[in-house]
């Protein structure tokens, strides 16, 4: 049993020196997912990230260099490249009157960040950013390392994880900050028209441990840019943090009139997820995430379906110098109902027509290595 310094001694810890403003790092994320439906195409239907199962999957490799603006009139820059299965779905599928990939999209999906920022000397500091930046909407990150669970929720898969445009963020006080964004569209590698879209965000710490976030998107995502065809999307989050438990409830809803439908019918999708994590002891933590996602018109998943899932993840993490090793064992149950719902399973019902099952059990083992300078 060792003796230690009391609080008075800790406060005498020497002040830190000015950190190097330039930082760099890398990330490698691999997994093996045992899909008990054993689909011959190895695909997780309706899933954008972690799309491959029953095979070794290098889902993400990332390298970055980064400089943060520290004080007023300071500037910053972010540049990052990425590769892996998780980037495949960033290239939109060609759809008439809707999305078509921007030229070079298959190469541009490997660009994760490319932006410059400036901290304008206004009030507490107005942060202005231009270029390709992180999406402002999701609670979860596109990168598994930063999440409670390994596989991402449907909410994360079907919301903008990247934004190409200009953005601003301002902290009104210690508890409230707001942001405004002008971007090229819902999917940063899709080009449906030449008009910009708009986004707004509000983060509010209601009490010391309770926070609420409201994120909005509004803009044209079809060839016809008439106002009646603009897409509206809302994301609401409520977060509570305990010393050992964190709970976040997220709710999304989106709608737009479909130009490509005979009656230009209003399409609609909505979903929710409850993100929970319990820090067990030392390097162990447990996360459970129930969720549902209703794509009434198949606007996002391409299939009219109601999805729900429960994901349970046991995590072990260890720092080794500037490196972080994370391993996660995850069990995920997905269920899909609806006209076109289902998950791939073994065999075809006809040549080229895969057999579907209404549910899917998936056991995932993942390893994440990260290095930050």
């Amino acid at each position: 049993m060792a003796l230690c310094a009391g609080p008075a001694a800790a406060e005498s810890m020497p002040e830190k020196t000015e950190p190097n403003p330039w930082q760099y790092g890398a990330l490698l994320d691999v997994s093996y997912g045992l899909n008990f439906n054993f689909p011959e195409n190895h695909q997780f239907r309706s899933k954008q990230t972690t799309p491959r199962t029953n095979e070794f999957s290098p889902n993400m490799a990332l390298g970055y260099v980064h400089k943060e603006p520290h004080r007023a009139r300071d500037w910053g820059v972010e540049l990052a490249g990425q590769a892996g299965y998780d980037t495949d779905a960033l290239v939109p599928r060609e759809q008439e009157a809707r999305d078509r990939p921007v030229p070079g999209a298959d190469l541009l999906r490997h660009l994760a960040r490319a932006n410059v920022s400036y901290l304008a000397p206004i009030g507490s500091g107005l942060l202005l950013t231009a270029g390709l930046m992180k999406g402002y909407i999701n609670f979860e990150s596109f990168y598994a390392k930063q999440n409670f669970n390994y596989s991402r929720s449907y909410l994360t898969d079907y919301s903008p994880n990247f934004v190409f445009g200009v953005g601003s963020r301002y902290a009104i006080n210690h508890n409230v900050d707001v942001g405004f964004h002008v971007m090229n569209g819902f999917q940063h590698l899709a080009h449906a028209n030449d008009l910009p879209s708009y986004g707004a965000e509000l983060d509010w710490r209601v009490t010391k441990r309770l926070a609420v976030a409201q994120n909005l998107y509004y803009g044209p995502d079809q060839a016809d840019t008439s106002l009646r065809y603009w897409r509206f999307f809302s994301d609401t989050q409520v977060q509570w943090r305990g010393d050992e438990v964190t709970i976040v409830l997220a709710y999304d809803i989106g709608t737009e009139r479909a130009v490509d439908q005979p009656d230009q019918a209003r399409t609609f999708w909505t979903g929710a997820a409850l993100f929970t994590r319990w820090d067990l002891s030392g390097p162990w933590s447990l996360a459970v995430r129930p969720e549902w996602f209703w794509d009434r018109n198949g606007r996002l998943t391409e299939f009219e379906q109601l999805l729900w899932a429960v994901t349970t993840t046991l995590e072990y993490h260890r720092h080794v110098g500037p490196q972080l090793w994370l391993t996660r064992l995850e069990y995920r149950y997905d269920h899909s109902t609806g006209q076109d719902g289902g998950f791939f399973r073994d065999g075809d019902i006809a040549p080229g027509v895969p057999r579907l099952a209404s549910s899917q059990h998936l056991l995932l083992l993942s390893l994440i290595w990260a290095f930050d300078s």
Partner: protein
């Protein structure tokens, strides 16, 4: 992702030297291992003075989280805390660079913390 590392010398002992209460000329009493153990247990139970039993990583983690999440002057609810062998690793996002610095200061202020690795990122 910006990372700063602040280290302090590992505390050896912050306990003040124990004054001898032995009267001159009195017969010498040898302090054996049982005496030392009793003294240590007494300090552990009473938390007497500035000298406390070293906190476990879990205890340090809870103390750092309380310091961060209950901080009125900065929104640090998006900061994640892990502790390994007394070293505190901070990650996650904040709105201002000042909040990131404040997170590091608060973590360093927790008794028993030997180093702070601040990987908190200011969100664009």
């Amino acid at each position: 992702m910006v990372q700063t590392v602040d280290r302090m010398d590992k505390p050896t002992s912050a306990c003040p030297p124990v004054k001898s209460t032995q009267r001159e000329g009195a017969p010498m009493i040898t302090a054996g291992p049982w005496t030392a153990l009793i003294v240590l247990i007494a300090f552990a139970i009473t938390g007497n003075g500035a000298c406390r039993v070293r906190k476990t990583d879990d205890e340090l983690g809870r103390a750092v989280k309380q310091a961060l999440y209950d901080e009125p002057a900065a929104n640090l609810l998006q900061v994640d805390v892990t502790v390994e062998s007394g070293t505190v690793y901070l990650s996650g996002e904040v709105d201002l660079y000042a909040f990131k610095e404040r997170a590091g200061q608060l973590a360093r202020g927790v008794g028993g913390v030997t180093a702070v690795v601040n990987k908190v990122q200011v969100q664009p």
